[in-house]
């Protein structure tokens, strides 16, 4: 919302400087966004006199001028057609900043001729739109500041209207806040009494009491429409509105002055009376923005006996609009339901100053004042005579009184504000205070936001000033039991460190992804497809971070990365319930990486993925010894080079493998891509063992190592064999390590030769050859049970 300093001073009697006013606005919660003080920009600009002008030797359009300035005679090269001898000009010296072209002047050489400073056009100084030539100033001494020549300049202030303060859409409310703070005195609002020369002749009916509870009207006849007075045009221009004619300009003025939207109808263009009613399907009208709008039964329209004229509280129509020929008008000052206005505006994508104000809530008690002020202004400029005022319906003026204990402000803010000051502040803001133990505070009609004692405390606090807040430290929480950090937090942290520890870079990607990418890994239910995605490639909640990591990998590869090592710890979504969101640690490895003279790095494979998954699982405390490996084919994964790590047959803790070649192709990732996902929530919490570690029982005897080679069916998982051998003698066998896999000469078709090292750890006494033979026999027997046979 924009306004000018002089406009504010219509309502506020103050000697405060512009800076003080801005500072105070910020202090009371009116967030100033921009201040344009034209005199600041003009400060370096002074009057100069062109003594001599001659054509530039090398350029037809340029002139070389000798200019008398406060800095002495300066040579200035100028391209303006009106740069000529004998005129007074706006001289900006070298070093001055020219706002209109965003340039700080420096000494220049223009086509070989030196030029010192500039003679400015009004547009270059943001004083107007004229850029056909440089400004020609009236008689004034050389060196006079330009600001003194062009007349007083009105600074423009732009600030953010918060949704709770619809009243601040009018300049008067700003003045009221500033006066309450003590920056000046609020001038009384003089609402003129308009003499009623005749009864308001137009029938006005509201047939939609919910959408339009009240419709006030006043008629003026015999007026002569035309341009509004200069002061009014200046104000509207300053805040970025285009002056149209007096009738339109008055409604705009009061909209910004008092947050009171009005509308004016040309009575001669009306067919009978004026009705506020709900629209009907099939009806339409041409709005003042020259666009046709179809209305429906959810929208409140203003119609005459035959046609829809406009949308109440949003925009009028061309059919009843006022122009220079208008002589008789009906002024509308109504109250429209904010919700209906908002819905209609949204439905039609139609914004206007009126909609903006009505949907935030206008003062329902402002109907008559609005009509009187508008009528008085029109009569003064356009002549004519005014009717009486009629109001159809009843404005929803509510008497709201809040019980307010004056200690509330201290309870909530810690600030001690004397009761007298509290009363002063509240009264200045328009509240009516009845003091007592608990005060009765009557809320002004323009403050729909104030409902309870906390709101009153806020009014007192913000005007008193939050710079008075004490700085207190939260006391230590007594003996309240401290909770351990959540398991989810600890695991996410551990997973991140584990991934970074094996050389992966942490990415953070969108929680949503594209439909096709998601579908490569899981069919997502409709309920987690966004209704209003920001774009079609971010339209569904991701079933796993993989599609987004793949896109990132693809982009990295396209930029020339030799290898991609990425991971993300974050949400994966199965449905729209809190439980449907899992936390997964997901990683991706692509590309062989940097070549090394000590031996080449291999392309990542399913085993890199498995190693990564195991690292994460170990970091988050999964029971490694109980993990079972499965190799069910999963969407997105290479069907024969992928697997799952589970606890029991159903609880999948991790998936790992190579990316399906057809998926890899879709992401332009040639060669193998290793991928893994670890379900951080699926790992059962470790049994609470406290901080103590179990005692370390170091055996005194040397371990004994024995190697075995087994022929083993190619299609059977090697892990079964290893597990069986581990179980062959639980007391003696400390470790079983598979260290070689061989297929080829000497191994029958359909078999693999698996070389396995068994570590035996004697406990009490050294193993004899007989002991070792016995355990070897048990190992071989266990292997045979799994289908293995000792290689001869």
């Amino acid at each position: 919302m924009k306004f000018t300093l002089s406009w504010l001073k219509d309502h506020l009697d103050t000697d405060a400087s512009l800076d003080q006013i801005i500072e105070t606005m910020v202090k009371v919660g009116l967030e100033v966004e921009e201040v344009i003080d034209p005199s600041e920009a003009l400060a370096p600009v002074t009057v100069g006199y062109v003594k001599h002008a001659e054509p530039h030797p090398d350029a037809d359009r340029l002139r070389v001028c000798k200019v008398d300035t406060k800095d002495g005679e300066m040579q200035i090269v100028c391209g303006a057609p009106n740069a000529r001898e004998g005129i007074r000009v706006a001289y900006a010296p070298v070093g001055a900043y020219i706002p209109g072209i965003d340039v700080t002047l420096s000494k220049a050489k223009i086509r070989g001729v030196e030029s010192f400073g500039m003679m400015c056009s009004s547009r270059e100084l943001e004083l107007g739109d004229d850029h056909d030539g440089i400004m020609e100033l009236p008689e004034a001494e050389v060196g006079t500041p330009l600001a003194d020549v062009v007349g007083p300049l009105d600074p423009v202030i732009d600030f953010e209207v918060t949704p709770n303060r619809p009243d601040t859409n009018g300049v008067r409310a700003i003045a009221r806040d500033l006066a309450a703070e003590g920056l000046g005195t609020l001038k009384p609002l003089e609402v003129p009494e308009v003499e009623a020369s005749f009864d308001q002749p137009v029938t006005v009916i509201t047939e939609a009491p919910d959408a339009c509870p009240a419709f006030g009207a006043l008629t003026i006849r015999g007026l002569k429409n035309g341009p509004s007075p200069e002061w009014l045009q200046q104000r509207l221009k300053a805040i970025g509105l285009r002056p149209i004619n007096m009738l339109v300009d008055v409604t705009n003025f009061l909209s910004y002055d008092a947050a009171r939207p009005l509308h004016v109808y040309d009575i001669k263009k009306l067919n009978g009376g004026v009705h506020a009613r709900m629209g009907k399907v099939g009806e339409s009208f041409e709005a003042l923005n020259d666009k046709e709008y179809a209305v429906d039964e959810t929208m409140c329209v203003i119609a005459d006996d035959e046609n829809v004229l406009g949308l109440g509280g949003i925009m009028g129509g061309t059919s009843s609009g006022c122009d220079e020929t208008t002589t008789d008008v009906l002024i509308e000052s109504a109250y429209f339901d904010p919700l209906t206005i908002a819905k209609t505006g949204r439905k039609l994508s139609l914004t206007s100053d009126a909609r903006y104000r009505f949907e935030r809530g206008i003062d329902p008690a402002s109907i008559e004042d609005g009509l009187k002020r508008a009528a008085a202004m029109i009569l003064e400029t356009c002549g004519g005579e005014a009717s009486s005022i009629t109001i159809a319906g009843t404005p929803p003026v509510e008497e709201k009184t809040v019980s307010y204990p004056p200690a509330e402000v201290t309870r909530l803010t810690g600030m001690d504000v004397p009761e007298s000051r509290q009363e002063e502040i509240l009264s200045a803001l328009g509240f009516e205070v009845s003091r007592g133990g608990t005060w009765d505070v009557k809320v002004p009609t323009w403050r729909p936001d104030v409902e309870g004692k906390a709101d009153i405390a806020e009014e007192v606090a913000r005007v008193h000033g939050l710079d008075n807040l004490p700085t207190d430290v939260l006391p230590r929480l007594g003996d309240a039991p401290r909770r351990q950090p959540a398991l989810s937090e600890i695991r996410a942290d551990a997973a991140r460190r584990a991934c970074a520890g094996i050389g992966l870079m942490e990415a953070v990607t969108w929680a949503f992804t594209d439909e096709e990418g998601a579908a490569r890994f899981a069919e997502q239910p409709k309920e987690i497809h966004l209704l209003n995605p920001i774009s079609s490639d971010l339209s569904v909640m991701r079933p796993t971070p993989l599609p987004n990591l793949l896109l990132a990998a693809s982009r990295n590869a396209a930029r020339g990365a030799e290898s991609v090592r990425l991971f993300e710890v974050g949400g994966a979504y199965t449905d729209n319930t809190p439980k449907g969101q899992r936390t997964v640690a997901t990683g991706l490895l692509w590309g062989a990486g940097v070549r090394d003279w000590q031996g080449s790095t291999d392309e990542p494979s399913v085993f890199d993925a498995k190693a990564a998954a195991l690292s994460v699982l170990e970091a988050i405390g999964a029971p490694a010894s109980r993990l079972m490996v499965f190799s069910d084919p999963l969407p997105g994964y290479h069907p024969t080079r992928s697997g799952q790590l589970r606890l029991g047959p159903k609880n999948t803790l991790a998936r790992f493998g190579e990316l399906h070649p057809s998926v890899a192709k879709a992401y332009d990732l040639p060669g193998r891509t290793a991928i893994f996902e670890v379900e951080l929530d699926a790992v059962p919490p470790a049994k609470n063992k406290g901080a103590t570690k179990p005692a370390l029982g170091l055996p005194e005897l040397m371990p004994v190592r024995r190697d075995f080679a087994f022929l083993y069916p190619a299609e059977k998982p090697a892990s079964d064999l290893v597990k069986a051998i581990q179980g062959a003698d639980k007391a003696l066998i400390d470790d079983v390590r598979l260290f070689d896999v061989y297929v080829g000469k000497g191994v029958p078709e359909g078999q693999r030769s698996l070389a396995i090292e068994v570590v035996l750890q004697p406990n009490k006494e050294t193993l004899t050859d007989k002991d070792i033979e016995a355990v070897s026999a048990r190992i071989v027997a266990a292997a045979e049970k799994q289908g293995g046979s000792l290689r001869g």
Binding site: L474, M505, T509, N556, Y573
Partner: protein
């Protein structure tokens, strides 16, 4: 030839052979030929038995002396040869130590992870615990309980991501802020409450300075005494610690949020030094977070009596904190997964 002369000549001959031995094997041959069972010295020793006691008295020490000296000479030569062999072997093992080592794969953590960790640590010291909530929220937790009126613009499609309506017509949303965690915490736990809630948040916004997903940290304190003075003290302490400045200029400006009353925004003083933003002092103000006293309607919606309980809440943008503290100029690359960016702006695990 006298025995003496004989021994001297033999010793000279043997010493010459020892000196001529160029490797350990040759030297061993010399040892065997001299001191072995059938070696020349051993053979001479054997002649002692046949000598008369007088002869033996002279010849015995002389021969034993010879044997000892030859053994010593062989031992000394052996040391020399071993040292030479080792020196040769070491020379043969010479490498070019200027060759590069195998590239180390070092991963980095995202700056958001770093900032989350820092924020959690600073608030932990003030007694705050971490709470989490789901990204997909219902209307109650994201809006209604937080005192958003039914027609509030935030509930519109242009601000909030919605999911298809359920049977009753209610639409789930992607949470627009971390504030729903306030509601969940107040409904599940008894005061005193002192928590922060970090997490992902979502709004329909995408341009140079906005991304459809971003990160926030919410803070909530509920008890019977906490007021805005505590809010100020807490947030100032946080900012001093986070930005690592001793002197910190702050300003609290009244503002509006549906879920707090009174509401404020906190600004910190800063100055620009070229492209670097220095938080703490300076003539300019930078908005850093929104805060206020929890609105009575929010307390009521969560089952707490606003006449008995009170407290403050605040929320801040984590991505922006990261940008400010670590001088990261643009927001959009945060979510691009560009390895070069992560390498540059990321942190090693031990730094987090």
């Amino acid at each position: 030839m006298t025995l003496e002369a004989d021994i001297a000549s033999l010793e000279e001959e043997l010493n010459a052979k020892i000196a001529a031995a160029e490797d350990e094997r040759t030297l061993e041959d010399v040892r065997v030929s001299a001191l072995g069972k059938k070696g020349v010295v051993s053979e001479k020793m054997k002649t002692l038995g046949k000598m008369s006691p007088e002869e033996r008295q002279v010849a015995g020490p002389a021969l034993n002396g010879l044997k000892a000296r030859i053994a010593d000479a062989i031992g000394a030569r052996k040391v020399v040869l071993e040292e030479a062999a080792l020196a040769e072997k070491l020379e043969a093992e010479r490498v070019d130590v200027s060759l590069p080592v195998a590239p180390q794969q070092v991963g980095k953590l995202h700056p958001i992870t770093k900032v989350f960790a820092e924020v959690a640590e600073i608030f932990a010291a003030m007694g705050f615990e971490v709470r989490e909530g789901p990204d997909i929220e219902d209307d109650f937790h994201n809006f209604t309980a937080l005192n958003f009126p039914p027609e509030h613009p935030a509930r519109e499609m242009h601000d909030t991501f919605f999911f298809p309506p359920k049977e009753g017509g209610e639409k789930m949303v992607l949470r627009t802020h971390t504030s729903p965690v306030q509601v969940r915490t107040m409904m599940e736990e008894k005061p005193p409450i002192r928590v922060i809630a970090p997490g992902r948040t979502f709004r329909c916004d995408s341009d140079q300075t906005h991304t459809p997903m971003f990160h926030q940290v919410e803070g909530l304190v509920i008890d019977k005494e906490t007021h805005m003075g505590h809010l100020k003290g807490t947030l100032e302490a946080f900012c001093r610690e986070f930005f690592d400045v001793k002197q910190l200029k702050t300003r609290f400006r009244p503002h509006f949020f549906p879920f707090t009353e009174p509401s404020a925004e906190m600004d910190v003083g800063y100055e620009r030094d070229g492209a670097v933003v220095k938080i703490g002092q300076g003539e300019d103000w930078m908005e850093i977070l929104g805060c206020g006293m929890v609105h009575p309607n929010v307390l009521k919606a969560c089952g707490l009596d606003p006449d008995e309980y009170q407290g403050f809440a605040f929320g801040m943008g984590v991505d922006r904190l990261a940008m400010l503290k670590y001088g990261i100029p643009d927001l959009r690359p945060f979510f691009s997964g560009d390895q070069r960016w992560i390498e540059h702006y990321g942190f090693q695990p031990h730094e987090v």
